[in-house]
Symmetry: D2
Subunit: 353 residues, 4 copies
């Protein structure tokens, strides 16, 4: 059994890590930290874990992280992770970071998208931006991994085959990513905008422009395409607790057949354990829909060609707390530790739910 710690375990992504690790099979939860809830049982904060563990949260003492664990997840809020990371890195453990603090390799992108000067820019290069479907081998050899943003990973997985191929010219200037996200993506802290009566039933365009995940998408799509990509992203909060749908409007030039695009996607995803291609002729779930991935690490991917507008609509759907956070992070951990990539997360979604 590998011993694993979770730093910042009181948030929703942290809670999901705990849930997975308590039944992982090859890794065991060594400790879970929380400044605010130190001394409390896990289930006081994560009521689903009642009866699953007697563990209590411990405080954020990082001096002994390596004594007690072989790998740690850091699930701290953005802007908190980089404060403690040098100390944890120095301890010599393997790390999977779930925050945004080590996702962008160019320090200038933090100025541009996050509005601050990155305090430890030298660490950026040492973290591997980790989407197994894109860079599995690199992750296997990594000591420090950064797990992507939830809307970023959905959008990247939806569009990657289009930008990776070289046969059909893709418009790099008018890539529209229209994302719909559930409430858990904005965390567990109450506020007026998350107050049930105000939040229920909304279709809230909370970030029509300038969403920070844009930077990750541009970074990774740019790598795949070998060219600069400009992404026009808009994020909407909708009436559900889990799930993301990312609708990516991608324009092409010339001619494009359904079978061409199928081939691009098959080439990239055919053997992927957590990608399901969804493109059916009938039934209510003919294209990706977060409803049928809830509780699983799947990213469902599909597309439709719009000949009228010379557009491919590439669509991705995930459970934002799994493939969008804890599930992908555990998949990355499994790779880093040489375990079966599916260990602990090979779970069917719930339906209906």
């Amino acid at each position: 059994m590998v011993r694993v710690g979770v730093i910042g375990a009181s948030g929703y992504a942290g809670g999901e890590l705990l849930r997975i690790l308590l039944r992982h099979g090859k890794a065991e939860l060594a400790y879970a930290t929380s400044r605010r809830y130190a001394g409390e049982y896990l289930f006081r904060v994560h009521p689903n874990l009642r009866g699953m563990s007697d563990l209590q949260f411990v405080g954020n003492d990082f001096s002994k992280v390596s004594d007690k664990a072989d790998l740690v997840f850091t699930a701290l809020p953005h802007g908190e992770s980089f404060k403690v990371m040098p100390q944890i890195v120095a301890a010599g453990v393997k790390i999977v970071d779930l925050s945004a603090d080590f996702r962008l390799s160019d320090p200038g992108d933090y100025d541009r998208w996050y509005g601050f000067k990155h305090p430890v820019p030298d660490l950026l290069d040492r973290f591997v931006y980790s989407i197994p479907e894109l860079n599995r081998d690199q992750i296997r050899g990594a000591t420090l991994a950064s797990s992507p943003g939830c809307m970023a990973i959905t959008s990247i997985l939806a569009m990657a085959p289009l930008f990776k191929q070289k046969d059909v010219p893709i418009d790099r200037k008018h890539v529209v990513v229209d994302a719909k996200i559930a409430s858990s993506g904005s965390g567990g802290k109450p506020s007026l905008s998350t107050h049930f009566s105000e939040r229920y039933g909304v279709v809230r365009p909370y970030k029509p422009a300038g969403h920070r995940h844009t930077a990750e998408i541009e970074q990774e799509m740019g790598k795949l395409a070998g060219d600069k990509i400009t992404v026009s992203m808009s994020a909407h909060a909708i009436n559900m607790v889990r799930g993301i749908l990312s609708t990516c409007h991608v324009f092409y030039e010339g001619d494009l057949q359904n079978s061409n695009v199928w081939r691009m996607y098959r080439a990239m995803y055919n053997n992927e354990p957590f990608i399901r291609m969804v493109k059916d002729k009938q039934g209510p779930f003919r294209l990706p829909d977060p409803k049928v991935v809830i509780g699983s690490n799947f990213c469902d991917v599909g597309f439709e060609i719009d000949e009228w507008g010379h557009r491919v609509v590439a669509i991705g759907a995930i459970d934002n707390l799994l493939k969008g956070a804890a599930g992908n992070a555990v998949q990355v951990m499994n790779l880093m530790l040489g375990l079966d990539e599916r260990q602990g997360i090979d779970v069917a979604p719930l339906h209906p739910v």
Copy 2:
């Protein structure tokens, strides 16, 4: 009191017409037809109307429509309306049609978008496509009016000021309309895809390309711009019963200031009784959200400029059964009858709901 009939009154749009007309003040509901429910009390089909009226549905006998009413609404399904329209037109009453059958002036568009040859193409020219905010004077003089599609009106009202102005060049080829729509938009007929357990919590990209409302948007935006516009529309069904949000991604060239765009919208909407500009600095409802228009005829309109991608995100929100159907139709009726445009629909939205 003007006498008004509703033909095809058992659907959701029909029910909403009845609800408005029963308390309109200047018009009175003369009759409501339904082939299927003839002889039934209105409240057997529309349970909200219990205690509001003793009227019963009558069958679809169009021979005497003009004897009993001065104006009729036709709220029949698409493809049914054009079958009965010649007979109703011949009766000489004023008509407001809520179906798609008389919205497009070019008969060829029915081949292209609806897949059939229009059986009465000569009638198309006689119907006025009616959005008061665009062509109020024309509506005032109309005998035959066609009320727009729910996603079309939302998108048109969101983008119209951008295409009407001539100062800033707008990209006419990459106009993306990403619409999110509630369940009532797909009507009252049960099916597997509308079965609660299957429909609840979805973000279903049910029509990523080829949505028929595209044709209306292109037709009307083209008129405003004086040029051909290609619209790339995708429609998503989401977890609510009423409401539409249309996110319109519009690319521009050169420079664009917030104050410029404000001016375009103010110029067009400043005195509109049913348009509210929403663009605030704080609060949960800084931009349009269908949640706060439910129960009203408002279309909330707002925008945000994305300098990074040279994009204006133009956003519209409505109650699909009101400004998207019955509410706009009554507004059109008021104009056609020379009544105060707000009569019977000057109602505040519910909040929270």
Copy 3:
């Protein structure tokens, strides 16, 4: 036009009063107070009111309430109302209070159910507990009125005919009231338990015993029955924003026919403008359901006889912000002012919503 003020207008009940008063027809909104939001436009707090009024909140200065208004609504939180009431009463205006502070006529009930000693017990007798269906004439002559609790009025209206009649013996010791209530009933203040991700999808038995509305129900049912009634109430928060269903399990002795019970309800409610009897043989809405009263002042009432257990299941459904708060309060105001009881609230519910 009667001038009306709303004291404590920033909460949900206050907002609903504003919404009604802005289109009442015979009364006009003179002012709306809010300590916290003084100087803000109404629509900053109640986003639905955007475009409906240019009024701003004023502070809570009660010295001049009577100069500016002929009647005031007090919609302050429980425990705040009795602090300011003596001053407002002294001003000589008519008052409709929406708080719990003047609902119970026995001061001892405040000790027992609310846990405090009532500071102005002498005022209790001067307030009329106001349910028009029970004591319309008394309300007509009242100067000071107290509008009932939302779950209380639903339960009372559901059961009243059973306790008012003397023909069939009703068990007074095992009256179970099982209430299901929407989120808006708990107000607009954010907290962990109202955080969307935690509140969505719950069936939370938040007050299985000791709910304060029990006292009102016992008080009013006791008056009707001329006997002491013990009510066993449990309150559940469920997954919606508006609405209450109260399921009242009432045991009887001897024999009871459907037609008997019909007669009891008809006798009491036959001419009531805001009571609808709902007891159908078919359709999805055979019995009361809050879904089909949303947006209206209706209380839907129905029942079913369970011969097996010698039980009548009496059921009431309302929109908690209307018949459960602002709607009933305006109905009471109309009576106090000699207006048509339906003025400003004769509105059909929305459906579907």
Copy 4:
């Protein structure tokens, strides 16, 4: 690996059985039958199972059930199960039946509660009504097991300790069970009453009296109490897809302390792997709530004493498709096969969801 068949696998309970069995670990899914979908891939009917299995449904040929499986689940609709059961029983396999057809041991109860004469009354005695927390040893030795109704098991587990004990007199005539149930409990067949727009947001008292699960509750509570119990049950459909909350209002005589009741529950449930006692002083989840059991086989149980009304409010919460159907059935299978009771169902609930 034990080979297991699922007969009637296209419904929601059947789908949940498939989901569990595909990852059970000690049992393997040998076949899944469906008359309607024979030849279709499982994921065409259960979209969550895409990528989880290549199996196709087979038709309902029962002649060879025992050749291919050591145990079969029958998940047919009520009234279908008893038609095929004699043939399956004759095949000699172990059977866990999820229908209502073999739950009641007195054939007369089928006349009374289901309105038909049971066609194979001799089989009734051979089926063990199976709630492991009540009769684990009997289940271990069983060949034929009947898994209880979803609302029955919730209510029975909530109240059992009160009726099992003999110290405090419990009222046997006024036991009120007020159940709130999600949509998946009514199956996957579309109808007007399950049409999303009509079903969303309801609190529908769809069976205020005469619910068939009453019979099971009376049967089992009667056994525990050694006396006849009359249960007054009302069932409500509410706005969610999974979950049941059963609020049981139980009256007592004399005095009852919190610690007494704790002792009763602890005595019965202390070592139960799938019962969690929930009775906290703080937090949003102080008492059972289906929200925090979704995806798991837990039944959360709690209570509150109402001294005013001499009432214990006993509360149970489950995921209706798990502890209310497939989860309990697999737990029963595990016992019948001598496996670890938790095998394949030892899963944490999702939160938030």
